[in-house]
Amino acid sequence: MSRTLKLAAVIGAMTSLPITPSVAAAENLKVVASFSIIADFAKNVGGDRVDIITLVGPNGDAHVYEPKPADAATVGSADVVLVNGLQFEGFLQRLVEASATKAPVVELTKGGEVLRNTGEEGHHDQDKAAEGGEGHAAAEEGHEEGHHHHGESDPHAWQSVHNAELYVKNIADAFCAADAAGCDTYRANAESYGQQLDALEAEIKAAVAEIPEDKRTIITSHDAYGYFEHEYGIKFLAPEGVSTESEASASDVAALIKQIRQDKASAIFVENVTNPRLIEQIASETGLKVGGELYSDALSDKNGPAATYLEMMRHNITTIKGAILGS
């Protein structure tokens, strides 16, 4: 069973909300979002008062993203930098260092509950971290050139709508700190969006309730749905760990196939940020039919079925429910 940890202390040296001069009211806040889901939250909170640049765009995989010099320049000129934290953005420390930014780098998972990466379900060495939970900044120090680690915490906190509300609150706090004149607007936008999140969560719970309990085990590519599982009671198995950085080994896949048969998994899904080949192979070997594409670590492009967070979560639960009940 996963352990939940209070997030506050997990936040390492990267997190800071320094005193920053408020920008002039006439200028929009220049906001950098590390990946597409955060950008969508920021857009809902910031509205017309913010200009948002997203580093890892739709369908992009932040686990393996390589920052460019242009990204460092973008971060260097930002007023606010919004990141997930929990070592999701493995590139963050080097990017922030290269940018020499004076903007606050705000970890949006701050103050929430964090799931531990259990590490025993077909994961890899980097996910079997020992006790400690130091921030990425500390983890990279004292290491050979360019090496970095993934932490012991599951970073995919947005997969729980309850946590999404915390992301939104933290974004509003960050925007208020940087632009006091717009604070009322940010709070009102956050409140309004929060109501939509509440409605979304109720929809997800209602959809899960329609799925028989003995059919609530499904397969995805990587362990991105721990929070969804924890919050809504669907069990996810995956050949890859919480990061897509390391490929699953043959023994991982063999163990997963054995577990799929034991647990009588109901459906299997590809993810938008991973190569579908492994999932298709597992589907072939287990006789499961691929039930569709789930969106895990990134939104779709604007023409896709998951162009916003609300659409993403609705698409995912609809796809899961449809595949299970149709199987």
């Binding site: 080097r94 290269a98 980097q126 939970g133």
Partner: protein, 403 residues
């Protein structure tokens, strides 16, 4: 089970402190491997205290290459027709929340690969490919085999001798394609071969191919027309051509190095310029940077991702800000080293060892040390002969008592 993080942290901290006190020690080790311009030897210097660790006699003057892991250094002796593997003695083991360092004496690995005119050496994910120009043959060996002292290499032949290159790219090999009409000239493209050596797809045109580098998950070859950009495709390498932008003057890149920490490439472009390349964008992919005089050598900083370094013939080391695309600082280090004369005349080379930038000064027989943070010269290390090519290996990690 729910655990309050604050208490978990405290417990972890106590465990860490007690563990550290009893068993773990933080160790930093950096080594410089330096070849001589005239003599067949490789000198190993402890970059932390400046002392000489060893000197290895080899068969000819060498260019040096370090593996990505830093466990192996290769001495490519073109005139002697041999490549010699050296175990650096420094290795790391990733333990998730920390890394362990193992420091042993450097030694010849016991692996030599012989052939006519070895030239380009490429390490890709622990597989080394050496191209032997005189035969048009690539010999590929794994780092694991080298460190075990086994000369277990495999060969892939191209159609003709050429000044070529090969890259072991997962289950494929990328091989330069010789210029059939003018065999003495540079290769004209890249061929992809599968594990059995069979060609996959057509030839990817790359006229005057010279220069290869990796940065993150992108591999690039420099051509007269632009770059060939290689990424992992669905089942085989995906290769596309990135043409030089119209805004660039006439010229081409013939030496390419890859950024570490930030994904970019740095190449020469004309005698007194370098070009910063972001192959992931189509517009403004190339940023040209003029230098005060002709360029001698350049290197990226693997620790401070924002910086690369360029040495110019007026004896200056320049700190290049790759984010802004401009020279941030310059430091006079040596007397003039004119680029007139033979391309392989003894001239300075750059390596970065942790917080130090090290520049060879072959005519004076010294290594100049520059603090990478302040960009000020901090000292010299005397080296017998004409210290020429240089690579650094090292880092920090924990050692555990009793291991």
């Amino acid at each position: 089970m729910r655990t309050n993080w604050a208490s978990a942290t405290a417990i972890a901290l106590l465990l860490s402190l007690s563990t550290s006190a009893a068993h773990a020690e933080e160790v930093t080790a950096w080594r410089l491997f330096i070849s001589d311009h005239a003599d067949p030897k490789v000198t190993v210097i402890d970059a932390v205290d400046g002392g000489k660790l060893d000197t290895f006699q080899i068969k000819g003057p060498a260019s040096l290459h370090r593996s990505e892991s830093g466990r192996t250094v290769f001495a490519v002796q073109g005139s002697a027709g041999v490549v010699t593997g050296i175990a650096s003695g420094i290795s790391f083991e990733d333990h998730g929340e920390h890394g362990d360092i193992d420091v042993e004496a450097p030694k010849l690995a016991g692996v030599e690969i012989a052939g006519e005119k070895p030239s380009h050496f490429v390490d890709h994910d622990g597989d080394f490919a050496v191209f032997f120009d005189g035969e048009g043959v690539a010999r590929i060996i794994s780092e694991k085999a080298v460190l075990e002292g086994k000369s277990d290499f495999r060969e892939l032949k191209t159609d003709a001798p050429q000044h070529g290159v090969a890259v072991a790219y997962g289950s494929h090999v990328l091989l330069s394609e010789p210029n059939r009409e003018k065999p003495d000239e540079l290769p004209v493209g890249i061929r992809v071969a599968d594990k059995a050596g069979a060609q996959v797809g057509g030839i990817h045109a790359c006229p005057d191919l010279h220069g290869e580098a990796s940065s993150g998950n992108i591999l690039a070859f420099a051509c007269a027309t632009g770059l060939l950009v290689v990424t992992h495709g669905d089942g085989s390498p995906a290769i596309r051509h990135l043409p030089y932008s119209d805004s660039l003057p006439d010229g081409k890149t013939t030496t390419l190095i890859g950024g570490r920490g930030l994904q970019y490439f740095l190449g020469n472009y004309g005698a007194d310029k370098v070009v910063l390349i972001d192959p992931t964008i189509e517009s403004d992919a190339f940023r040209l940077i003029s230098l005060p005089t002709r360029r001698v050598h350049f290197a990226v900083d693997p620790v401070r991702a924002k910086f690369a370094y360029v040495f110019t013939e007026d004896g200056q080391l320049h700190q290049l800000d790759v984010v802004k695309g401009e020279i941030a600082s310059s430091l006079k280090l040596t007397g003039p080293y004119s680029m007139d004369g033979h391309w392989n005349d003894p001239r300075p080379r750059i390596a970065v060892a942790g917080d130090r930038i090290v520049v060879t000064d072959p005519l004076q027989g010294v290594l100049h040390l520059v603090d990478a943070t302040s960009f000020q010269k901090t000292g010299d290390i005397a080296v017998e002969g004409k210290p020429f090519n240089i690579v650094s290996v090292g880092g920090s990690g924990q050692t555990h008592e009793g291991e």
